[in-house]
């Protein structure tokens, strides 16, 4: 399938609408009026991150970014485009799978103790500016929590409650490879509204696709009209351009077999020597879901609290069992990460754990690039044939 085909719009059966540049501000205001806290892209600390938006003035108008392995740089644009940047260091998982959450508290009471359940704050969130790869990441994380032995419903509830305004990418970043992962650059489902931004010398407008009833309802409160065939074509063109300019590619052919059979490939050792085990990649990755628990008490030891926070398979404690960590070497941790993302995830959750957003490449301090790693392993396969033949778990 060519990248162009991939970008063909899915027939949602609804006529795309058109809003002018000013309509974005009205959309934010309308969402706020409905009680949503609107979060989206904004410039902070020399990067485009996600945070609460008071108005469209907070959007990164006229900014873009330059991304390479181990490098991220904000740049000024010649135009005032709002969404012509690619994924930054943050991902939406911070809203749906919070970096830190109190699970419950406990209190001592006459030699005994009692548990005080925590009632999570239910917040109506509107996520503005969700890219296609990020939509996929949200669906992937939802699947992870839904498949838990005792389904963790919180994630799915938060996701379904959230109003999602997707934005189709009009340009690809230097570390993007969503086309390889079949996750972008066009948003196909999982949104209430999807915007495609068109910036011309004289005009700046958005073609809006409607993905849900509540999306249609919000839009009805704004000034819109049907987008013309010309406007739709111009919007299409930007997405097709993005698809054609992916900074990276990843060949996923038989990737599960490739990685499962190359556990002893010398490349792991080499990359393990470069890797700082800093966990940047897992924190930045929109699908990594791992967490750990902190137990704390007050000074008097009367009150205790359990907090869940993001964890990373790159830490030594992660695999600790009495006597030592299972994954002692950095090599083993890097192998766990990559193999989980690209191979075992498929077995666990029915899809790849990678959406091709490129964050792990950009934010790696030493510029380790998973697409390069896979290429290297593919180039010099070091097959270890299964010792006992078919194992039942390996689909190779």
């Amino acid at each position: 399938m060519s990248s162009i085909d991939m970008c063909a719009p899915e027939n949602t059966g609804r006529q795309p609408k058109l809003i002018e540049r000013a309509g974005v501000g009205r959309l934010i205001a309308a969402l706020q009026q409905q009680g949503y806290r609107v979060v989206g892209p904004t410039v902070r600390d020399e990067a485009i991150i996600y945070d609460e938006l008071a108005s469209d003035a907070d959007l990164p108008a006229g900014w873009t970014d330059d991304q390479q392995a181990g490098a991220y740089r904000l740049k000024r644009r010649r135009d005032q485009a709002l969404f012509r940047y690619t994924c930054g260091p943050h991902s939406w998982k911070k809203y749906l799978h919070p970096p830190q959450a109190t699970l419950w508290r406990a209190e001592r009471e006459g030699g005994l103790f009692r548990i005080l359940p925590e009632t999570p704050r239910a917040e109506r969130l509107a996520l503005l500016g969700v890219r296609a790869c990020e939509l996929r990441a949200l669906a992937i994380q939802e699947q992870v929590f839904a498949m838990a032995a005792h389904a963790d419903a919180g994630y799915g509830v938060r996701l379904r409650q959230a109003f999602v305004v997707a934005v189709n990418c009009g340009q690809a970043g230097g570390t993007c490879f969503c086309v390889s992962m079949n996750s972008g650059p066009r948003a196909r489902k999982g949104f209430d509204l999807a915007l495609t931004e068109v910036v011309h010398a004289k005009r700046h407008y958005f073609v809006v696709e409607i993905g849900s009833e509540r999306g249609a309802a919000i839009l009805a409160a704004l000034e819109t009209r049907d987008a013309t065939a010309e406007e739709i074509a111009a919007a299409e063109k930007t997405v097709n351009d993005a698809a054609r300019h992916m900074g990276r590619t990843l060949d996923t052919t038989e990737i599960q077999a490739l990685l499962y059979r190359n556990h002893e490939h010398p490349r792991w050792e080499q990359t393990g020597e470069r890797c700082l085990s800093c966990a940047n990649c897992t924190l930045a990755c929109p699908t990594c879901f791992c967490s750990t628990i902190d137990d704390t008490t007050d000074l008097a030891g009367q009150r205790a609290e359990r907090t869940r926070r993001w964890d990373s398979c790159f830490t030594a404690d992660f695999s600790y069992i009495h006597g030592g960590s299972v994954r002692q070497s950095v090599k083993a941790r890097y192998r766990q990460w990559l193999t989980h993302k690209l191979a075992s995830w498929i077995e666990q959750f029915g899809s790849s754990g990678c959406v091709g957003c490129g964050r792990c490449i950009t934010w790696c301090p030493v510029g380790i690039d998973l697409t390069e790693e896979v290429r290297a392993i593919r180039a010099t396969k070091y097959y270890r044939e299964p010792v006992h033949g078919d194992t039942g778990t390996r689909s190779v």
């Binding site: 359940p117 929590f145 838990a148 009833e213 009495h322 090599k331 778990t393």
Partner: protein, 289 residues
């Protein structure tokens, strides 16, 4: 406001309760060995007893210190008392060891896959336990002995470091006195007056009285011991898919969301801890997986 914009009140509590323990009271504390103790627990509420299948585990919470996975070691047919046998090795288990009668502990569970006791019907059952690995196997043994007629030979091979580390000593003696179960105990090292077998538990496998072609083997102990046990069992002709092992990995949630227990594609808390050996064979061969 159009009604389809209304957001329903979120049942977020459902998510929170997954991680909420139930409080149990220590009814009895038994010192098994120097570093190993058994807690008999009863629920603080008047809710139903915690029914479980042999091989399953609970997440046990010690106030302010933490929560750890511990197998249920009691009788599945007497779920009224919840029994856990724990070796004090670190932060949580050492504080747990100081709990006394009347004190409280948090319990989440039961989690995980059981030993295939029912599926073993009509077969000999060989239990190979190393150290604290006897604890998760004891419920299986209770069940086998309670329904003794359903099975062929029942053989327990149990190894510990020294004679002082032998768990459930009185019970072992009672079982050994029965004619319908073969109990063999060995220790890694011993000084007098130990007159039993010395050596690793895997050495007991070649001579143990069971029919390799119609046996089911249940193994729990250190990973290296399990690997050698499998080797010896296969050497005798026990088919791989009749061998079951219980694995141990770091666990923070027990329900498949924290990611810590991953073993290749498997979540030990959810797909395990008890696995049919062919399912984990190749993964066990990979170092630092």
């Amino acid at each position: 406001m159009p009604s389809n914009l209304e957001v329903a009140a979120p049942p977020l509590e459902a998510a929170a309760t997954t991680m909420l323990p139930r409080l149990f009271r220590v009814q009895r504390y038994l010192q098994e060995t120097d570093d190993t103790f058994t807690l008999e627990l009863g629920p603080l509420d008047d809710g139903a007893p915690l029914a479980f299948a042999p091989g399953q585990f609970n997440m046990l919470y010690v106030f302010g210190v933490g929560e750890v996975p511990i197998s249920i070691s009691g009788d599945p047919d007497k779920p009224g008392v919840l029994v856990h046998t724990t070796r004090a090795v670190g932060t949580v288990t050492r504080v747990m060891a100081r709990l006394r009668r009347g004190e409280l502990i948090g319990v989440r569970g039961p989690y995980g896959t059981p030993w295939p006791v029912d599926q073993a019907e009509g077969n000999d059952v060989v239990i190979v336990a190393g150290g604290i690995g006897l604890a998760p196997l004891r419920p299986a043994l209770y069940r086998l002995l309670a329904q003794r007629d359903r099975f062929g030979k029942v053989v327990l091979l149990y190894g510990t470091r020294t004679p002082e580390d032998i768990l459930y000593r009185k019970e072992l003696e009672r079982w050994r006195a029965r004619f319908d179960v073969d109990v063999y105990v060995t220790v890694d090292r011993a000084i007098a007056p130990w007159r039993g077998s010395v050596g690793v538990v895997t050495h007991l496998i070649p001579k143990a009285p069971f029919d390799p072609l119609s046996s089911v083997a249940l193994i729990c102990g250190p990973e290296i011991m399990m690997r050698f046990s499998v080797f010896e069992l296969e050497k005798r002709g026990v088919a791989a898919d009749r061998i079951f092992v219980s694995l141990e990995r770091n666990m923070k949630c027990g329900v498949g969301t924290c990611g810590h227990c991953q073993f290749g594609p498997l979540f030990v808390c959810r797909e395990g801890p008890v696995f049919a050996y062919p399912r984990v064979r190749d993964w066990l061969a990979v170092r630092e997986l």
